[in-house]
């Protein structure tokens, strides 16, 4: 009997209902600036979870905390059943073998071509025959539609292609979690559509859990099972994309509908406009305006 990939995916989720990522009471500051002040967030296994929020709310920082690249000031992060704070370097690296991450700019290794970039984690972690590595790499590149670009250099790729290669590389070791950091930024509509479809397709076909950080509301809402909106260091709202779209909160409505002004003001805090324009301070230089 052959299982349909989606049926297999549902079965795995039903049999293993545990959250793949759990964040409890997370506090993190950069210098004197608090980024997270008691963030609680649970990401379900097998789902595509969107993490959204205005620019500067710490979405990428959150990903780095989930992957153990940053250490929280307070609070706990559990990934696939393991508390990150209890892991030493070897344990953390072992856990990361089950996590694939797509960076905003692709982060392809510039001294390696496309094929070698995708083969990189395989060569580093497993002693596989060259023929098997070739099969795996070409399979992964085929999945993202770039088998024909296998021997191109990273500098020859467009932004969308680079991100697809990075996705193929992230999938190379068949991870349990795929993390996407702003995957849609700076892409043309066709490339964006391709990446959006790949996010959903990879999640279902490989029975993995996906975490997508983005502020492209329309795109991410079309593929996410659940969304979290982060603001002022905490989760401001969570739920399905539909629930967030119809949420009564002013902040959520402003973000989901792209309104220029609202709880997140259009103007950065500044002194009164008229008094600043006509004051003598303007003659003395910008320092006195503050």
């Amino acid at each position: 009997m052959r299982w349909h990939p989606y049926a297999l995916h549902v079965l795995i989720v039903v049999m293993n209902p545990e959250n793949i990522v759990e964040i409890d009471d997370l506090h993190y500051s950069r210098g004197n600036r608090p980024i997270f002040t008691g963030l609680n967030l649970h990401i379900r296994r097998g789902e595509v979870t969107a993490i959204m929020g205005p620019s500067g709310t710490g979405k990428t920082t959150l990903l780095r905390l989930i992957t153990g690249q940053l250490i929280p000031d307070r609070g706990r992060v559990r990934v696939d059943g393991q508390w990150l704070g209890e892991l030493r370097r070897a344990g953390l690296y072992k856990l990361r073998r089950d996590i694939g991450m797509l960076f905003q700019n692709g982060a392809l290794l510039t001294d390696l071509n496309v094929f070698e970039n995708v083969a990189f984690p395989l060569r580093e972690h497993y002693e596989l025959p060259e023929r098997l590595i070739r099969h795996i790499v070409l399979t992964k590149l085929h999945a993202v539609g770039l088998r024909g670009a296998a021997y191109m250099e990273p500098t020859e790729l467009s932004g969308g292609m680079a991100r697809r290669v990075a996705l193929a590389r992230a999938m190379a070791t068949d991870p349990k979690i795929l993390i996407y950091d702003e995957p849609f930024v700076g892409l043309d509509p066709i490339s964006m559509g391709v990446i959006v479809r790949l996010v959903r397709r990879m999640n279902d076909a490989l029975s993995i859990s996906s975490i997508v950080v983005s502020h492209d509301v329309q795109e991410i809402s079309s593929v996410a099972d659940r969304s979290y909106l982060i603001s002022e260091g905490k989760v401001a709202a969570s739920g399905s994309p539909d629930e967030l779209s119809n949420a009564p909160s002013e902040l959520v409505r402003q973000f989901m509908h792209g309104m220029a002004d609202g709880p997140v003001p259009f103007h950065f805090p500044a002194p009164d406009y008229a008094s600043q324009l006509f004051s003598d301070a303007s003659k003395k230089g910008r320092k006195n305006d503050a």
């Binding site: 990361r96 982060a107 510039t110 070791t173």
Partner: protein
């Protein structure tokens, strides 16, 4: 006064972190040496690609030394000492020091900017996320590449320099070729050669460590990478001259 203490504290913190980084590079070196492909590529990048620069500079430095030696020694009728004078100058001082300074300018800046750009474009973070330690995969091979290639470049610089001194002394100034080489052979001992080799190795470790450290800890911006590159050259030059004095003083005190 408080600024002074802050600066001193910052320096000590950085110096301590640099020592820990150095210990880590040394500790991971045996594992990286088991993958000779990684190291040989860096020996090529830092060594082979610096070869033309080293040879050209070595020839002209040797030629200038030969010229100076001839014009000054001739006043005392000691022209036949041009060979040993040039050889000792090149072997013990100018060879290691100028090679290290050229190495810092050519290979050191390339290392620092390459690693710094890898940091700025998230390539190092991507490695960490693929459970690949960037210290082992990026920093150690480049450090070892520099450590291996610097003494070799020093030796080549010195040999080419002697050739430059010979060209000035013998065909141009009319010294006897046989006397040039025989005086050189008599005037230079094993200890002088060892001093040059020790300086080449120590300068290689220092220059490579500084380049890799600056690149690895570069602020991940265009300005940060540029600053790391500049700091690599400046700090390496100062450290090399300080180490040169220390090794020379030790060598002289040992007789």
């Amino acid at each position: 006064m408080r600024d002074l203490f802050d600066a001193l504290g910052g320096f000590l913190r950085t110096f301590g972190a640099l020592q820990l980084f150095f210990m880590r590079l040394l500790a991971e070196s045996p594992r990286v040496l088991m993958r000779p492909g990684l190291v040989s590529r860096q020996v090529f990048n830092t060594g082979a690609l610096s070869l033309v620069l080293i040879m050209v500079c070595g020839f002209f430095v040797g030629a200038v030394i030969g010229l100076q030696a001839y014009s000054n020694l001739a006043r005392f009728g000691a022209e036949d000492q041009v060979g040993p004078f040039s050889a000792l100058s090149l072997m013990k001082e100018l060879g290691p020091v100028i090679t290290a300074l050229l190495f810092a300018g050519r290979a050191g800046t390339a290392l620092a900017s390459e690693i710094g750009l890898m940091r700025a474009t998230d390539q190092l973070s991507a490695m960490e996320m693929m459970a690949v330690d960037p210290v082992i995969r990026v920093a150690v091979p480049r450090f070892l590449g520099g450590v291996i290639s610097m003494p070799l470049l020093t030796a080549i610089f010195t040999c080419i320099g002697m050739l430059g001194a010979y060209v000035v002394g013998v065909p141009l100034m009319g010294l006897d070729g046989g006397a040039f080489w025989s005086e050189l052979q008599q005037g230079v001992g094993k200890v002088d050669v060892y001093e040059g080799i020790i300086k080449g190795v120590v300068f290689g470790i220092a220059a490579s460590l500084i380049a890799v450290w600056e690149g690895y800890n570069a602020v991940p911006t265009a300005e940060g990478v540029g600053r790391a590159t500049t700091r690599t050259v400046v700090i390496t030059a100062v450290v090399i001259l300080i180490f040169d004095f220390m090794i020379t003083a030790i060598a002289i005190s040992q007789g």
